[in-house]
Symmetry: C2
Subunit: 465 residues, 2 copies
């Protein structure tokens, strides 16, 4: 592909950010051209701006040269949101990595976009505060990317996704203007809610340059439990029972038999006795009294639903090791097959058993394995189709299975993506969930922000024929 | 003003919804032409559609005749959002008043837009569920209007505003298409979040025809407290102290001295001993053990901050009467003056004392009284400027005070509206909070939805010169 970037453009870019912060060596162009989806296209130029003002100047330069551009954060996305599929400039926000303010009186933080999520969590917890969103990649992903994708994680069941914590944004529009949305106030109904429109817009409407986040007091106590069941259905029955009893755990993670087998193979030790068809990891938090009484109720519901083993993490180190198992899942599956089609579908929680019925049917349709785990409380199950790399004809069957899966979850009143977004990997399937009128409206919104279509082109919307 | 509606239009409308559901008598045109702002303009035609399909047909008819139109719910808005300022058709959604589904397994409800908020609350509480948003008008306001305005209420401090509970919408676009946004799944990141863009758009982007709401388990216990202080500042100090101690009450309402005096006058009995300069009404909910320990902590913080009286509601009837006082506030103020400029400004909670400093300065600028009460936890204070009706020249000074107030809250990093929206009453002040670039972007979004500008024209944006 020919480069989108002229020598004059490069020179002007160096003029804006300084020579040291423009990269055009092949290694950099390659490295900044892919994310966790691992389907890249090298950038034509990588720019590392140091301020909002520099970003606005680079954007104006891109507009005047008609060069495509996009912003890149931690590069941990699963759907290609940060991949420059049409080439052009990748604006890496890695220098904008400061926590600007933590305000324990007003319970808020103001951060630059490339603050690592886990770092922010630790910083606010030192002040007795809590930032709940906990995507599995929290050691590497950044707040800007979390906002762009509306990231979730296990604790979303009780605490909601990133959306619930964003009070305001500073952003550079594709046309170069700097806007501020929302405010430090926890309520704001002045004009259209640009904050909430930008959340989850996958970097296609604006470049986020500063984020004001709401925090909450840190829960005083937390306890994690693991319960083992003969299969997925009794596990879901247990979840329904304790939620109906009024318990709202911080997290309710479900791991199916195939995922448990993958973990055992990867870790080299069995995790559960024979006959285990599903595991629940449940975390309860709050005041010590509430945690104690809710744990009791959760355990009772699990036993009634048929759990054959229930372990309560006795201390924080037990708790950590219990959760580490959950965090090793993605690596375990990659160990089985490098060709993993990762689908974060979501259905109303009561329909999770029907989702597993559908997965059982898909298992018969090709030479692949399917491992499922995820956020049972939210009905948000990661359905991983693992294609045998020695039987690459299986990939076509797997892609057909993805389509059948997506049609199935929409029929179950769910959604094809609960956390990861559309990007490039799911764009071909968008019309399974959205009508042509809905897609046309979204495209008109995109045009209202980006009339030239230069910001992060080729994402979300299926290619026009 | 000449009517926007021709005889041919009326006949076509009658054809769509039936003769019985079209009104053109003067009383109806008047009655449907105003909301709680009490600044109306009669409708040219009132239509009572019975279904989404009929709404879509009426909208298409309006488009083909270039007749302005808007949807009306409970008519309880404070900013003129449902007032047909440019005439045309008022589509009253009063026939769309059914609760379609309450699903205790998936913790959701599906409702038509004109379900009264309080009715929905009672219906879900019968199932052990809870719909937290509780605007003061909950006996009359409707869910569709709550979504259009992103309504709040006392419980927003702990539970968030209406936004947090909306999973999906069915809506008729101004161009006549019926779209569905979101789904029954609690997470959905497929395309731009039209659900959250429509929430708070004040009926200017689409007509909401069905709403899917998330519910939560009903808290097992709740206790209300009233604490009296010498002034607003120690009351705010108490709030800061118990929040820093990790307590998140369901509601923290603040009532200032002027409001207490108005209540005493209206109810004909003193509510607090002499020397009382502020009252807090605090409600704690959750498990019985947590409620008990949090009440204890709240009371201790109030005492330390100087409360001279703390009353705990002993039972549900005490609790109700304690809250009734709060609910009588608006009526009490109207009793003092029929000319009440009601401003629901919001600042970061720690800056509430600075907001009261500003109000004290405003009190010296004209022949009016200013009574403040509201949601102290959210920093969302209703600043009511009560103009002496016998000194109508006071109105101009009051309008100047409103402008100074709005400039002041923006300088305090707050917002000019936390709950009521912009509508017509605050449109002249929009540019105090938003830049011209931000307003221009919002107008482009409006055009993406409504290229002819026929849906609810004249709202939010200041008139072009």
């Amino acid at each position: 592909l020919p480069s989108n970037v002229s020598a004059a453009f490069s020179a002007a870019a160096r003029n804006i950010v300084g020579d040291a912060f423009v990269r055009d060596d092949p290694e950099s162009l390659e490295a900044y051209g892919a994310d966790a989806l691992k389907r890249g296209r090298p950038a034509d130029l990588v720019i590392l701006p140091g301020s909002t003002r520099e970003i606005a100047s680079v954007v104006a330069l891109c507009q005047s040269h008609k060069v495509p551009f996009l912003a890149r954060g931690g590069g941990t996305g699963y759907t290609g949101g940060a991949v420059p599929v049409r080439g052009g400039v990748v604006l890496s926000l890695e220098r904008l990595n400061q926590i600007l303010e933590i305000d324990p009186i007003n319970l808020l933080a103001r951060v630059q976009p490339n603050v690592v999520t886990g770092d922010l969590q630790r910083a606010v917890e030192r002040e007795g505060l809590f930032y709940p969103p906990d995507p599995a990649s929290l050691a590497h992903c950044v707040i800007g990317g979390n906002v762009a994708e509306n990231a979730g994680g296990p604790r979303a069941f009780k605490y909601g996704t990133t959306r619930r914590y964003v009070l305001g944004l500073e952003a550079v529009l594709p046309t170069g203007e700097v806007v501020r949305t929302g405010s430090k106030a926890v309520k704001n109904v002045v004009g259209y809610d640009l904050t909430h429109l930008l959340i989850g817009s996958e970097g296609t409407l604006a470049i986020l340059t500063e984020i004001t986040l709401r925090l909450i007091p840190k829960p005083q106590a937390r306890v994690a439990l693991r319960a083992l069941f003969g299969g997925v259905r009794p596990a879901v029955a247990a979840v329904t029972a304790f939620i109906r009893a009024g318990v709202v755990p911080a997290a309710i993670e479900l791991v199916d038999e195939e995922s448990l087998a993958a973990l055992a193979g990867y870790l080299g030790r069995p995790l559960a006795p024979p006959g285990t068809g599903a595991a629940l990891i449940i975390e309860v938090d709050g005041s010590p009294e509430t945690v104690a009484s809710e744990c009791h109720l959760v355990e009772a519901c699990c036993r009634t639903a048929g759990a054959h083993e229930i372990v309560r993490a006795a201390d924080e180190s037990d708790r950590t090791s219990l959760w580490e198992v959950r965090r090793e899942l993605s690596a375990s599956l990659r160990f089985i097959s490098p060709i993993k089609l990762n689908n974060d579908v979501v259905v109303p929680r009561g329909r999770v058993p029907e989702l597993f019925d559908l997965v059982d049917r898909l298992r018969t349709t090709g030479p692949f394995r399917i491992a499922c785990f995820g956020h049972a409380g939210d009905g948000n199950i990661h359905v991983n189709i693992l294609v045998d790399p020695t039987a690459p004809e299986g990939l076509r069957a797997a892609e057909q299975a993805v389509r059948t899966l997506f049609e199935g979850v929409v029929a179950l009143e769910g959604s094809i993506s609960g956390e990861h977004g559309i990007g490039i990997s799911k764009a071909p399937y968008l019309a399974i969930e959205l009508s042509s009128d809905e897609i046309a409206l979204m495209k008109r919104i995109k045009t209202a922000f980006d009339p030239q279509g230069l910001l992060n082109p080729g994402k979300i919307f299926p290619e026009d024929p």
